[in-house]
């Protein structure tokens, strides 16, 4: 996750200047990264607020990175494209049809948010999130900046937490990008109206918007398990692409297993099984236990894979 691709620096200078190595103008101006004496003890006590500064700089890195911005723009283009297609074909015969919520968009622009999320959920969203989270540690390692970051010294646990939070923030922004563009485009193309629930009942625009905000939050939280998986893979390798691919494959394999009826017994535990449960929020009386169990499964994946990532990252030899 370094800037190494933007500031190609083949010559890594030894430890004392390590902090400045990651530092391209304006992107990581942190005092916390000033070289401290490498007593592997606790920098926590010595530099108050160091965590906050590290997190801020990491967030700036992740969210400001050109590749990530392009990824977010790509996701944001989905609702635009969807709205455009549905708008142009709205008077054709196939109007009002489509999988999931796509058929409802022309009646109510608010559904563009849900339809776009529904369209992105199987592949595009996991792909984007896998790229960001798989890159978190492996990216630094491949760029050769990880060891310098660690001898600064930033404790490994703290670095991992910061990386995880930044990857989570990116996942949240990805879902939010779809939602915001979807809302604006939906309102612009089709207008906002009272919301017809899956149960056939109609609720007011305000209540409907609240439910759809709930959908966005649920989907964003549903991505957290995948972020943890990506982070773990990222600690295993110095090749970022490998970590990204492994993360995407995890999501896809989970989806495939979920489609096999013979594996019915393990379905509730799968990473992707509860992703579509966001539809629960669009029923007349949402079953909160369904939503809670979906989030519970995500929490289980987070606990297992973040501890795995921690165990790996804090015990591995970092050679580059």
């Amino acid at each position: 996750m370094s800037l190494a691709d933007e500031t190609p620096s083949g010559t890594l200078t030894p430890q004392p200047t390590a902090g400045s190595e990651r530092q391209s103008p304006g992107s990581r101006p942190d005092a916390s990264l000033r070289p401290l004496e490498p007593s592997a003890g606790g920098p926590d006590e010595r530099v108050p607020g160091a965590f906050g500064r590290l997190l801020r700089s990491e967030l700036r890195l992740v969210l400001g990175r050109r590749r990530n911005v392009i990824l977010l723009s790509g996701l944001a283009a989905v609702p635009l494209l969807l709205a455009l297609v549905l708008f142009l074909t709205r008077s054709s015969q196939s109007a009002g049809e489509g999988p999931g919520f796509v058929g409802r968009v022309t009646e109510n622009g608010l559904f563009l948010v849900v339809a776009a999320i529904f369209v992105c959920l199987p592949f595009l969203l996991p792909l984007t999130i896998a790229i960001a989270s798989g890159d978190a540690i492996a990216g630094e390692a491949s760029a050769g900046t990880l060891r310098y970051l660690l001898v600064v010294p930033v404790p490994r646990t703290r670095l991992l937490v910061v990386k995880a939070l930044a990857a989570l923030a990116f996942a949240g922004s990805a879902v939010l990008a779809i939602a915001i563009v979807g809302l604006v485009a939906g309102a612009g193309f089709f207008g906002l109206h009272d919301v017809v629930l899956l149960s056939g009942d109609t609720v007011s625009l305000g209540a409907g918007a609240l439910r759809i905000a709930g959908v966005v939050v649920y989907v964003a939280l549903s991505m957290t398990g995948l972020v943890a998986v990506g982070l773990f893979f990222s600690t295993l390798t110095e090749v970022p692409v490998a970590a990204m691919a492994a993360t995407v494959i995890t999501a896809i394999v989970s989806g495939v297993l979920d489609a096999l009826p013979a594996l019915h017994a393990i379905h509730p535990w799968l990473l992707t099984h509860h992703w579509l449960d966001f539809a629960e929020l669009l029923r007349i009386q949402p079953d909160w236990r369904t939503l809670a169990s979906g989030l519970g499964v995500q929490a289980a994946w987070i606990v297992i894979f973040s501890t795995l990532a921690w165990a790996r990252f804090t015990s591995a030899d970092v050679s580059s």
């Binding site: 490994r156 017809v196 056939g200 009942d201 019915h264 007349i284 289980a300 606990v303 501890t307 165990a311």
Partner: protein, 406 residues
């Protein structure tokens, strides 16, 4: 960190291992505890229990129902239940339903699809079905005569006539199973269980006399309210799993909010009006007439009890053999009726059909096989034979019995 530096590398890996164990324990734990023995219910005789169920005041409740059918039907090209909520899903596999009822004449049953829903709302003398996938409403109202009877009976009996297409909820199935229990079955209370977190008696109904596909019916009856919480119908052809299993996974005995029990068609939905009558002299749902009353016109009955076969001529009335064949087949007896009941709803008999389109014939062809006598549907619980000369025979009996009768 300071402590992590002191921790050996092996000890670190123990953390995720411990976390995994804790997670598995957390998730797998509760069911194990819940299914552990639930003793301490006062003893009750089978007769008392059957009587209590029969006379129980209908309870206002809301809950989630899991429905599983293992009827051994050929798998449908429509795919599994995941895609869109539709009553055809009830023919095989597992379906989740939400149930709300005020215990009297208002109720809502929703089939839950992953991103869709099929709702049946009964509100006194009218009923609605809504399919979110098709954005289509069907509005059922009583014809003039039936409406008059509804007014007359309104408030006098607990079983007011229902216009809604019946859905296989535990209560509905149990009522059918216990209807003719005394005559043709042995009934025992086998013990106690826990369903949806509530203590329940297990009532086992075993058909007597043989000749039927039903080996036994197990009804779990809530110990407090005497409400049926789950029903399992076991087939003689499969001793490992029940052929039909309907039960609450969660239930709450409280009056549902009024908003759930009412319905008005959403803007933009297609609305189809259907006027239905009630079977003469019988205040029951039109789609589930029993063998004792409400036999459709022109039907003959072979055999008795569980092995009853009902024969009916369909051609003169409808002329659409394929679409309507199994539909008006009445429940031969008790529990087995759920199978034909659902099949019946698919075909679309007396206007109580939840939204099947013009592909009924194709669906029927998919489900049946060609035999010398006509087309045969054989499943774990029910056999239906549509003869070449336009008769339909149905019953909870082996297919060979029907072929011999034809």
């Amino acid at each position: 960190m300071g402590d992590s530096a002191r921790m050996s590398s092996k000890a670190r890996w123990a953390v995720p291992a411990g976390a995994a164990v804790a997670v598995v324990g957390l998730f797998a734990g509760p069911p194990l505890l819940a299914s552990a023995g639930s003793s301490g219910l006062p003893a009750i005789t089978p007769q008392e229990l059957v009587a209590a169920v029969a006379s129980h005041q209908s309870q206002a409740l809301s809950g989630t129902v899991a429905y599983t059918a293992r009827l051994g039907l050929p798998s449908l090209p429509l795919g599994s239940a995941s895609d869109s909520a539709d009553p055809t899903n009830l023919l095989s596999g597992t379906t989740t339903m939400r149930v709300w009822t005020d215990g009297q004449e208002r109720s809502r049953v929703s089939l839950i699809g992953q991103t869709s829903e099929y709702s049946v709302v009964a509100d006194g003398p009218q009923a609605w079905t809504y399919s979110s996938a098709k954005n289509a409403v069907v509005h059922f109202t009583l014809d003039a005569a039936a409406a008059k009877r509804f007014q007359a009976e309104h408030g006098k009996t607990t079983s007011t006539p229902s216009v809604a297409p019946s859905m296989p909820t535990p209560g509905q199935l149990a009522d059918q199973s216990l209807a003719q229990v005394q005559k043709f079955s042995t009934v025992t209370v086998e013990g106690q269980s826990k369903v949806a977190g509530r203590d329940a008696y297990e009532l086992v109904v075993t058909p007597q006399g043989g000749g039927t596909l039903v080996s036994r019916v197990v009804v779990a009856v809530d110990s407090q309210t005497k409400t049926p919480l789950s029903v399992q119908v076991w087939s003689t052809t499969n001793t490992k799993d029940p052929a039909l299993e309907v039960g609450f996974t969660s239930v709450r005995f409280a009056m549902p909010s009024s908003a759930v029990l009412t319905f008005s068609p959403p803007k933009g939905a297609s609305v189809q009006q259907k006027v239905v009558g009630l079977p003469a002299g019988h205040p029951m749902a039109p789609s589930a007439p029993s063998a004792t009353g409400g036999l459709p016109h022109g039907a003959t009955v072979h055999g008795t009890g569980w092995a009853t076969v009902v024969e009916r001529s369909v051609v003169p009335e409808h002329g659409r053999l394929q679409g309507h064949a199994p539909t008006t087949v009445p429940a031969p007896s008790g529990a087995a009726s759920s199978g034909p009941g659902m099949l019946g709803q698919l075909g679309g008999s007396d206007g109580s059909t939840p939204g099947m389109g013009g592909d009924q014939a194709a669906l029927l062809n998919e489900l049946t096989t060609k035999v010398p006598q006509g087309r045969l549907l054989s499943s774990a619980l029910i056999s239906v034979l549509i003869t070449n000369d336009g008769h339909v025979l149905a019953g909870a009996v082996p297919a060979a019995t029907l072929q011999a009768l034809a």
